[in-house]
């Protein structure tokens, strides 16, 4: 290090002067800039707090109020209007799980298929494809109660006439979340770089081989994340189910193709509309139960995304 110092006194002064200049510049950030920076960061943090405040209030309220009713009874016991101490959500929970299974079975092939068509085959310059795209975007924003009316007119009665059964509820929910799945799957497919498709096609692969062996495997994490988030939404929907038959107070385990059924949010709604204190407690406990299920599902989605996400 010493050897790098120039030999003459004059040069030494020059170097010292230059270094002092650099040091002064580096350390001279104006005070105002620092303050503005901090103020802005504070504002951003505040907006997160406000966003989280609602969720936090719900958690605390439901947690405090529902605490007395939280027990395994929630999972194992049917609802009751007489024995509130032992009442639970068993039929509703089973109904929700069954519906989720049906919803997944319906939305994965339909959603992924539509997304593949729109991303890989459709010619975006043609007007009919543009109308399809626009409609899917719009469908994702249609209020869920509208889907309830559709389910009632099309599935419960009307052409399909399935009646007020669990499968009708599942189909309605699948229709409701399908646009979300299509949009998520399209984004996942679009995130696969074109160079991968070119590499595959340049080897003499057909378009279908390229999609099947290269694009879809690379898009699976994104598709799976989208499906889980869509299912979380389906799980929380109440309004359309009220119209397609899930209103009744079910005390037995539901079956998919016949008889009445219920779902978690509908059951919570049932309890919450009753004036007695005990039912309010049960409703709060139900909210906690549903939050646990939702957090579990979203955690799986996040885990999937982090575990399999491809960095290009």
């Amino acid at each position: 290090m010493e050897s790098a110092v120039p030999p003459t006194e004059r040069a030494r002064y020059a170097v010292a002067g230059a270094r002092a200049n650099v040091a002064a510049t580096l350390g001279s950030q104006p005070r105002g800039d620092v303050n503005r920076n901090n103020a802005f960061a504070g504002l951003l943090f505040l907006s997160i707090l406000i966003a989280l405040a609602g969720l936090l209030a719900l958690l605390i309220q439901a947690g405090v109020e529902g605490a007395p009713a939280i027990s395994t009874n929630l999972l194992t016991e049917p609802p009751s209007t007489i024995d509130t101490a032992n009442a639970g959500f068993r039929p509703a929970l089973i109904g929700s799980v069954m519906m989720i299974v049906f919803v997944i079975v319906l939305i994965v092939p339909l959603g992924v298929g539509s997304a593949i068509y729109l991303e890989e085959y459709a010619d975006g310059t043609k007007w009919w494809n543009r109308i399809i795209e626009l409609n899917i975007q719009n469908l994702a924003a249609v209020p869920s109660i509208i889907y309830g009316i559709l389910g009632l007119g099309l599935i419960v009665r009307g052409p399909l006439s399935l009646g007020f059964i669990l499968l009708a509820g599942a189909i309605t929910l699948a229709l409701l979340v399908l646009p979300v799945v299509i949009i998520a799957a399209r984004e996942a497919i679009r995130a696969v770089p074109p160079s991968i498709r070119e590499g595959s096609l340049a080897l003499g692969a057909t378009q279908w081989q390229t999609i099947r062996r290269q694009v879809l495997p690379a898009a699976i994490p994104g598709v799976a994340t989208g499906v889980i988030l869509a299912v979380s939404r389906a799980l929380g929907e109440t309004a359309p189910l009220l119209l397609v038959g899930a209103t009744v107070f079910v005390t037995f385990d539901p079956t998919p193709l016949e008889g009445n059924y219920s779902a978690l949010p509908v059951q919570i709604f049932q309890y919450a509309t009753r004036p007695q204190e005990d039912f309010q407690t049960l409703a709060a406990a139900g909210i906690m139960l549903m939050l646990v299920v939702l957090i579990a599902m979203n955690s799986v989605a996040i885990w999937l995304r982090n575990r399999y996400e491809q960095k290009w």
């Binding site: 160079s195 991968i196 070119e198 590499g199 096609l201 340049a202 003499g204 692969a205 690379a218």
Partner: protein
């Protein structure tokens, strides 16, 4: 028609002979030890024009590409080199607005004929891209993908090893064949892509600026590899690097950007196509001389 067939047949025989290691075919001389001897034409371009929508990209390209030669396309940015090379294996079909006019013969057959299936074309004419594009899979699966989808017979392990050896990368990856290809360096990825292309045993390898994303050492390795591959394959390479064209290619085509008078539209045209040595030492067109001597571009 029969003549075309014979020609194709002949080329196949030559390929088989060479791939089996038979010395019957004279190895193509480099440009600095005499003129290229092969006269077998792989591609014949006859007034080929490509446009995207209403925009002309290249205009009236006429040139012959010879068998087991390295043919380089050089020229400034925007002169349509990449557009041109992408016509040769019909990768331009992927751009809906692309339109090709004129004639492109591959061993005498019209590549844009009505009965030609682009998928079959790409089986015979492979392509290596500017940016290495390994699949997000293991090194082994990257190589095995092509042979698997084409239903190639034989032991897959052997096919993979042979392709990696020919791609001059076997020694570097033989102990980690199951690792993800994304963990390799850029130069290794590009040689993997070349090996992947060789694995399906094409007739021609198209390379679209294969070294532009690589450091000089990796570039040198790929150039060495190209010289080796030339014994078995015809290679067409687009390059920005004139030294590279001078080092590896037998013949060089120089393209330029032409502008309309109002400078509103631009397209690429071929200025000169000749033996590489001639292009770089004694070009017939002053524009070529200006470009290769670095006066313009």
């Amino acid at each position: 028609m029969t003549r075309d067939d014979q020609r194709t047949q002949k080329s196949t025989d030559q390929d088989n002979g060479a791939k089996a290691g038979s010395p019957t075919l004279a190895i193509q001389a480099r440009h600095d030890d005499g003129p290229p001897r092969s006269t077998e034409k792989v591609f014949e371009l006859k007034e080929l024009s490509v446009s995207y929508g209403d925009n002309l990209a290249v205009k009236d390209i006429s040139m012959d590409v010879f068998h087991k030669n390295i043919t380089a396309l050089i020229g400034p940015s925007g002169c349509g080199k990449s557009t041109l090379i992408r016509c040769l294996n019909r990768m331009n079909d992927l751009v809906p607005s692309a339109r090709v006019e004129g004639q492109l013969l591959y061993h005498g057959q019209d590549l844009y004929g009505p009965k030609v299936d682009p998928v079959q074309v790409r089986k015979m004419i492979g392509m290596v891209f500017q940016k290495p594009n390994p699949f997000p899979k293991s090194i082994y699966d990257n190589i095995a993908f092509g042979p698997r989808i084409l239903g190639m017979k034989g032991d897959m392990d052997e096919i993979v090893e042979r392709a990696l050896r020919r791609g001059a990368i076997w020694d570097e990856v033989k102990d980690r064949l199951q690792d993800n290809a994304f963990g390799m360096s850029g130069g290794q990825q590009q040689r993997l892509c070349i090996a992947r292309c060789i694995a399906v045993e094409p007739d021609v390898i198209l390379m679209d600026e294969p070294c532009s994303a690589l450091d000089p050492i990796s570039t040198g390795k790929i150039e060495d590899l190209m010289m080796e591959l030339k014994e078995n394959y015809s290679i067409v390479i687009v390059t920005h690097n004139m030294q590279q064209a001078a080092r590896v290619s037998d013949r060089t085509a120089f393209l330029i950007v032409e502008l309309t008078a109002d400078e509103k539209s631009r397209w690429g045209e071929i200025v000169e196509y000749d033996e590489t040595e001639k292009i770089f030492t004694n070009p017939s067109d002053p524009r070529t001389e200006d470009y290769v001597t670095g006066k313009v571009g």
